[in-house]
Amino acid sequence: MRGGLENNVVPTNLQWTRLPFFFDPAGLRADLECIEASEWIAHFNQQDYEGEWSSVALRARGGRANDIVPMGGVEEFEDTPLASRCPHLKAATDAFELPKKSVRLLRLHAGSKVREHRDRDLGLDRGELRIHVPVATNDEVEFVVANRRLVLREGEAWYIDFSQPHRIDNRGTSDRIHLVIDGVVNDWALNLLERGLSEMVTETFQLAGVESFRQFREIVFEDAELQGELLPVADRAQFVDAVVAAGARRGYALEAAVVESEWNQRHREWIEQGMRL
């Protein structure tokens, strides 16, 4: 169980790894047809997204398919009626031999985005892990964790530490639907992570926007005119817009999401390094 973490090869701060599973994408997709449009529930965390972000549960507290809140003790969770209607999703879930809490489909509709945030209640050090199995996705989904772009393909399985800053932007024309399994860390799960680390290649990608932002930042550092323009902006959202606009005038195509993410990161560093009072 948790104690195993200390002498295991799996670091508690493991950022992400692909897992040694592959599920038939056609089967997973076929199950989606069994879910009525009316069964999808708008996600409870309405502050963090723009557009449509909805969910339905295959396993939930009290077995209620419309209870998409993943919190609670492991013993409270039961399969919902939906689980028996979706055999491929059920089989994919059962492939993970660890005590399961919530099992949901999370659906980010075309053109919608989830702003950068951290799920602080998740993490290996808390004895919990979250597995993602993409069921439907598209090439225009930008999924960014700790400033790296992760490309998750249909049928793959991933462990990702979501206590890291992450954001999703579905810029495509189809919905992104992931099977999201929350489980309790056990020896089987640790062994799975270990195998993922040793057997799988987990590729992540540099964001083009990060590099252009960093170049632009060097310009700001030595340009009194830009400093004079940006320093007085007191509102954070207006400030991000002002930075993007100033970048555009100097030939840097900056993305607001990248600027925001850099801001969050530097702000965190400022707090974490601590000011002596």
Binding site: R217, V220, F221, E222, A224, Q227, G228, L230, L231, P232, V233, A234, D235, R236, F239, V240, V243, V259, E262, W263, R266, H267, E269, W270, Q273, M275, R276, L277
Partner: protein
């Protein structure tokens, strides 16, 4: 590298190497009673989160050589709660002065060896010179820098002298009953070991007992006073000043010591009318009121730990003033 308008705010640790963090202050003068207050106010602006700079020591040295800061013309050491903030505000009231009041960046340099035991003294002196040089950047054409130290930094006076042998300094102290009453009412952050390591106070971790914080505080203050006394006896450039000589001592003894001018008196006198830690409120002499509220326990703790060194400081100051008078009349 052009760091015009940028001021070092602290040392951050990246991959176990010290890096200087800089914030854009432009032409904003450091007029708050404490450097950190200026920073905190500034940090409300989104700009400072996104656009802080980071350099190593070498870049800071190169910058201060290319653009030398205003010379360090005085350091205020003190035992806390004894008028040092008032002196800082008076010095800052003079437009050609920069006053850095307890800046974290200097304390970060002084405590480098705690985090970085391999750091040699020569390298620490380089850090100190560069950091002071960068803090003294003439952002408004100023021509003097004054540093108000954190109270425990009198323990690092030798290091400061090594970096700035010509800079005059004072050690300011006060009747310990009054200092302790003030510390009881509003305890300083340095009484918390996780904020200021006991080693910086020349104390041991085992000296810290949450049930007897007053004793910890009194012993730490006694060590600060003893260091101030020893420094004035053994080192050049020092002056002892008692709180009860303020603000008048600023207009004669300290005026010359800190290379100030007669013409500066009016600005300093105006600043002295303010409550130094709460600009806007008037400064009020509160010694008798603090004396009246001291408990029996507090007086006993002071008598045991602080009174002897306070008496020594008073004797030393009297002897020095007498000596000075003799020299003048001779």
């Amino acid at each position: 590298m052009n760091l015009r308008g940028w001021i070092p705010v602290r040392i951050a640790w990246r991959a176990s190497a010290p890096r200087v963090e800089w914030m854009l202050l432009g032409s904003e003068r450091l007029l708050d009673p404490f450097f950190r207050e200026t920073l905190q106010r500034q940090m409300m602006k989104p700009f400072h989160q996104l656009f802080r700079r980071e350099t190593g020591l070498e870049e800071m040295e190169a910058w201060t050589e290319a653009e030398p800061g205003a010379p360090l013309k005085g350091i205020v050491y003190h035992m806390s709660r004894c008028g040092s903030t008032l002196i800082g505000q008076q010095l800052g009231a003079i437009e050609r002065n920069i006053v850095a009041s307890e800046p974290a960046s200097i304390d970060d340099v002084l405590q480098l060896p705690l985090k970085h035991p391999g750091l040699g003294r020569a390298e620490q002196v380089r850090w100190l010179r560069a950091m002071v040089g960068a803090l003294g950047q003439r952002r408004n054409g100023e021509d003097a820098l004054y540093l108000k130290a954190d109270c425990w930094q009198v323990h690092d006076l030798d290091l400061m002298r090594e970096a700035f042998p010509e800079t005059p300094w004072i050690f300011l102290y006060r009747d310990p009953v009054e200092v302790m009453v003030s510390q009881m009412r509003s305890p300083a952050a340095w009484t918390v070991p996780s904020i200021v390591h006991p080693q910086r106070l020349r104390m041991e971790m085992s000296d810290w007992d949450p049930r007897e914080l007053d004793v910890y505080r009194a012993r730490a203050l006694a060590k600060i006073c003893a260091a101030g006394l020893r420094a004035v006896q053994q080192t050049e450039g020092g002056l002892l000043v008692n709180y009860n000589e303020l603000p008048e001592a600023m207009y004669d003894r300290m005026l010359m010591h800190f290379d100030l001018r007669e013409a500066d008196l009016a600005a300093m006198q105006k600043a002295a009318l303010q409550n130094a830690k709460a600009p806007g409120a008037r400064f009020t002499e509160d010694a008798s009121q603090k004396q009246a509220t001291a408990s029996e326990r507090l007086r006993a703790v002071v008598a045991e730990h602080l009174l002897p060194v306070y008496m020594q400081l008073e004797a030393e100051r009297a002897a020095r003033m007498e000596g000075a008078d003799t020299r003048v009349s001779a």
